[in-house]
Symmetry: C2
Subunit: 335 residues, 2 copies
Amino acid sequence: MRKKVTIKDVARAVGVTPTTVSNVLNGTNRISDETRRRVLQAVEELQYTPNMSARALVKRRTYTIGLFIPASPRVLSDSYFAEALRGMTEVALQYGYVVSIIYSDGLSDSVRQRIDGLVLTELKNNDEYVQYFKRIRMPFVALGRGGDPMLRDYVISDTNRGIREAINHVYRLGHRRMGYLLGPLGYEYVCERYRIFRCMHAELGLSLDRRLCATGENSREGGALAIHAILTRGVRPTAIFASTDIMALGAIEYLHERGLRVPDDMSVIGFDDADFSKYVRPSITTVHHDIYRAGREAASMLIAKLDGREYKCPVILPVRFVPRESTSTISLDNQ
Amino acid sequence: MRKKVTIKDVARAVGVTPTTVSNVLNGTNRISDETRRRVLQAVEELQYTPNMSARALVKRRTYTIGLFIPASPRVLSDSYFAEALRGMTEVALQYGYVVSIIYSDGLSDSVRQRIDGLVLTELKNNDEYVQYFKRIRMPFVALGRGGDPMLRDYVISDTNRGIREAINHVYRLGHRRMGYLLGPLGYEYVCERYRIFRCMHAELGLSLDRRLCATGENSREGGALAIHAILTRGVRPTAIFASTDIMALGAIEYLHERGLRVPDDMSVIGFDDADFSKYVRPSITTVHHDIYRAGREAASMLIAKLDGREYKCPVILPVRFVPRESTSTISLDNQ
DNA sequence: TTGTAGGCGTTATCAC
DNA sequence: GTGATAACGCCTACAA
């Protein structure tokens, strides 16, 4: 293996000192165009790349950012994280950063000092991690809102618009009795989506029947249980929204088992545009948001923050309402 | 922010030199029980954690391993990678390693030197990356076989067994005319699964009709196109295997569009047990393998390799055949 | 515009 | 057993 080339080798080749090389590479001091040119050329010829460990040591920076994922086994499986990761990695690379995933219920000391900053996900209403990272002064930005109303450094989808379009769509199809299937109330996104739903719902001059709303886990089973709860109250919405596509799917399956057809007997609307939403029958009407893009924005914001550059925050990303088979005009016997 | 505590602080507190502290921490030299005790205690009290950048610099190791994912936009979205990553991260942490994802079409110099080794995925038959990493002497292990028959450092599922069980299952259901939907032939796993299929098929005393086999992209469309190709040949299998669940899904959808019912008119068998396979209707009979576990084993193997420890290779992980709705006894009019 | 000197926190080598 | 001392490769005052 050819010997590692260091800054000294470059300096020697050009006939200057390492300091000078360092200066042209970091753009600190003013350097004569001539030396700059020669240094750059030598760097090229020798294929020099600065040793990150050494740089990290003296700069007290690791040039690594992390995607923090609270430990709950199944959650990482979502393509949500894969997408976010992909976006983050791409921009991180451009800035000379690398991204690791931190998948645990906290930050061990050893991991903590190997990371300059974090992108947080799955925030809870009063997120303990947010408090924790603030306390240990670990810089972070969030994918999604929550944790602390004071925080401004987050990337979020334009949920408002997504839900507005969804609700208008359903309204135009003739639906007036709308229900809602909530995920775990601890999560900020669950509350926010519901809040927006209520708000838009009211704007249409409709009043919400609380009996048409129920809570469940964020899973197929949760969705099934929630719709079950509503039906056993002896009431029936003509259209039902769910916090997530996976809950919507559970609800649809449950309804089918009970002999109720979707969308004929009930329209169902999800959120997220999960992979399976277009595969299943009926395919699920939902709101698509671009997690890959969100990952890019989050990394971008975090790195700007770390590098002390200006950055715009919060970032709100566009969404796209995706009508599919699970919604249709209200049927006659439902009027 | 409280000052960073270094090895010197610990040394001072105990009244020894940094050398000694380092020695007890790294278990190199023999140290008296007394000093060891006091050093350890001081470490505890001061909450000392070694600075990884400094250690990395002197040891010429980064204590970072990477999951390498060839850049093709949609692939990372699979929960496959998320699962592998989760497994890797968990064991890496135990060994003081961190994992980053390398998502690109090569290794930039800067990234290369921030990584001690890689876990490779999505290997092709004669993988260029494998050649590349060998050439630059980047240690690696592979998730899945391929790239080079000489390589022994890989983790793989017991595909043999999975396909045997699947084929026996179908055989017992009365099927004799079996077809196969292949993904892109460049990929090792595609060829391997097909090879095993042919082998097991022959073992049952059946002879394979090549007209019942076709190739397509590894996607829904690819699956649809492949089954389409077979049907247009004027032949029809009673059961068809697919390289992956996603292709199986595409095939099922296509058949439905053509008025052929699955499993009544044709049984379909996938591979992977993707998330959606249990959601869709009919749910897909498939072979489940534990990617999370594979990720753990891969990280474990790689780190052992890096740390110069002994390790067992290759590692072959058990699989589980999962019969679902997409397979059934052969119908009378198909006999 | 360029060079000198010192230090970042650790570990390895070799005395004592 | 323990301690100087010298790297590891780079950056940054400050001096020239």
